[in-house]
Amino acid sequence: MELLSGGEALIRALQDEGVEYIFGYPGGAALHIYDAIFQQQAVEHVLVRHEQAATHMADAYARVTGKPGVALVTSGPGATNAVTGLATAFMDSIPMVVISGQVQSDLIGTDSFQETDMVGISRPVVKHSFMVKSAEEMAEVVKKAFYIASSGRPGPVVIDVPKDTTDPSYRVPYAYPESVSLRSYNPATRGHPRQIRKAVDLLLAAKRPIIYSGGGVIQGNASEPLIALAKRLHLPVTHTLMGLGAYPSTDPQFLGMLGMHGGYPANMAMHHSDLILAVGARFDDRVTNDPSKFCPDAKVIHIDVDPASISKIIPAEVPIVGPALPVLTELLATLEERLKEAPELVDEAARSAWWSQIEGWRSHHDFDHDQRHRNEAEAIIKPQTVVQALYRATGGEAYITSDVGQHQMFAAQYYRFDAPRRWVNSGGLGTMGYGLPAAMGVKLAFPDAVVACVTGEGSIQMNIQELSTCRQYGLPVKIINLNNQALGMVRQWQDMQYAGRHSGSVYQDSLPDFVALAESYGHVGMRVTDPAKLDEAMEEVFSPALKDRLVFLDVAVDQNEHVYPMWVRGGGLRDMMLSKTERS
């Protein structure tokens, strides 16, 4: 058997796991590992400028490829800087493995230089964590980490690696385990057939059913059976922020996103439904509003791979524990069997009445997918129109990452995602600074794809140092900066709830010249302020001439624009502000 040091074994194990990239930043405790990286070519290391960015790159890589992303940081501050990225991935159930260097074993607990209890500090925001005890167990720990990160409800796993376990002078036989089994960890692989039959009965009996799906359908690769089911029973579909793209947004059966900033038709249809088929969604507080007023007439079928998500907030009539793909596939097959025997079970009359009710909501208020008239009327660029211009310029085909705030909601509302894994954002944790590194992770995963980061002048500055990484690795992502010169979502809440007292949400003329900033890193900077020039500028960003360049498009947008709809706090899903003055 081949003899490898612990550091070499770690990197070889990553190779054996099929890892393409490690996003990382070196430091004392990780140097043996870095030396092992240097002596091989199969796994490419991407040097970031801040560890938080490394974790977001790994996270976004995982979101679009479905394979766990890998980040490597050193001990102490390297490890603590990775915590935000771990929490981001944890909240959105993203498979990720973060390897942190640790001080040598005999210094642990002595407050030594760059020591921090990484296993302890990350505990609440990881699916699991390991501290490597010896070089001998390195390969097995890596295998377990990848297995845990990517199975069941995915999530981030930390491997904390004391420096002595990677010592190049101590070599051990290396063999990567074929498989791994943990007696205490057996995630469900399919749903219970009896529960699935019950779900089919409820679906057939419902008069006003709706599909509400989330990130579990994206991560679980269950888009196909979800679409087939919706088509088969002509069901309306709504998605959470994390679920966008699972069902084609341009299809008439799609009602738009639901929740706090969800569309009027989606929220109204949910509120008035008599059956909710929830798939890979967790009734998060940004979806339900007041749970006691949530969808008063609806029974719930809840499909989720994590039993703890079921009946946590909203009680489920039919709980089905299992991954979305096998459960939906089996549900469809069961449905077909029932319909073969008794096709009359589909209540066409009820369905058509339900759809006419939905069309009524749609015609009352829906997203206006071309708001250029608003720009012209006020001679100012409305942020929504920037997303719409982006949609036109990219033909709806781009990978869109976003940061957090108003621009994120506008992107979710107005970029119409027709395929899964195209929309990459920090939904659960709401991490500002996510967008740029995420775009970089996507670009590395799919170098030929068009990747745009919709951001704002607040969020982009939280990881703007990565423009340098983009320069080093030639990552031609497009940054669309919705610059309203304020922390827009904070400002919006202050407008709505604090009588316009803009506490801590303005910069007082301290913003950088983003064009010059981008250029100083060797990128292309552009600025547009005139609504009439928006489309032209957007075309240029995505023009063949700039295909291989990072373009930073700084767009001056209306500072007073709010995101609507916005629900009325403490209400049900039907209680929304539709504009500054209009209530549902």
Binding site: V119, P124, S184, P307, A308, S311
Partner: protein, 163 residues
């Protein structure tokens, strides 16, 4: 409602901290906690008492089950069970108090396991409410120090919690 949750846990470094961390992180309450290895050296048995309604207890057991090192979770209070807690109490024991304490300990089937000229240490085993009653009976004035093990329990009958 008070519940006794019994957990089989991998006997590994850090496993206990995950259980305790989960309770802190999710704002669940721990009334008592006791943990020790079992006859199988790879497993620890942890017993904790907590308060919560059915919905909360369901979440607690589900969240505990999600921890990778948790092998099994059982809510003992769901069925018939035996529960015991051990208490050692050091009591001031001078003059007439000595006989009085001895009598009270006998009534509660306690044993005096250590004695000096001025103090007795009484050992008592029982359900938690019996231990509470003993403390009330001897009175606050004579209590010098109390240590309680927290509740341990097993299901009645043939039922066992095993891997």
């Amino acid at each position: 409602m008070r519940r006794i949750i019994s957990v089989l846990l991998e006997n590994e470094a850090g496993a206990l901290s995950r259980v305790v961390g989960l309770f802190a992180q999710r704002n669940y309450n721990i009334e008592s906690l006791t943990v020790a290895p079992t006859e199988d050296a790879t497993l620890s048995r942890l017993t904790l008492t907590t308060l919560g309604d059915d919905k909360k207890i369901e979440q607690i057991t589900k969240q505990l089950n999600k921890l990778i090192e948790v092998v099994k979770v059982v809510d003992l209070t769901e069925g018939e069970h035996v529960e015991r807690e051990l208490m050692l109490v050091k009591l001031r024991a001078v003059g007439a108090q000595r006989a009085e304490i001895k009598r009270t300990a006998d009534i509660f089937r306690g044993q005096i396991v250590d004695a000096t000229e001025s103090a007795y240490t009484v050992q008592l085993v029982g359900v938690s409410s019996k231990l509470d009653a003993f403390l009330r009976a001897v009175g606050e004035l004579s209590i010098l120090e109390v240590v309680r093990s927290g509740v341990s329990g097993l299901a009645r009958g043939e039922k066992v919690v095993s891997v």
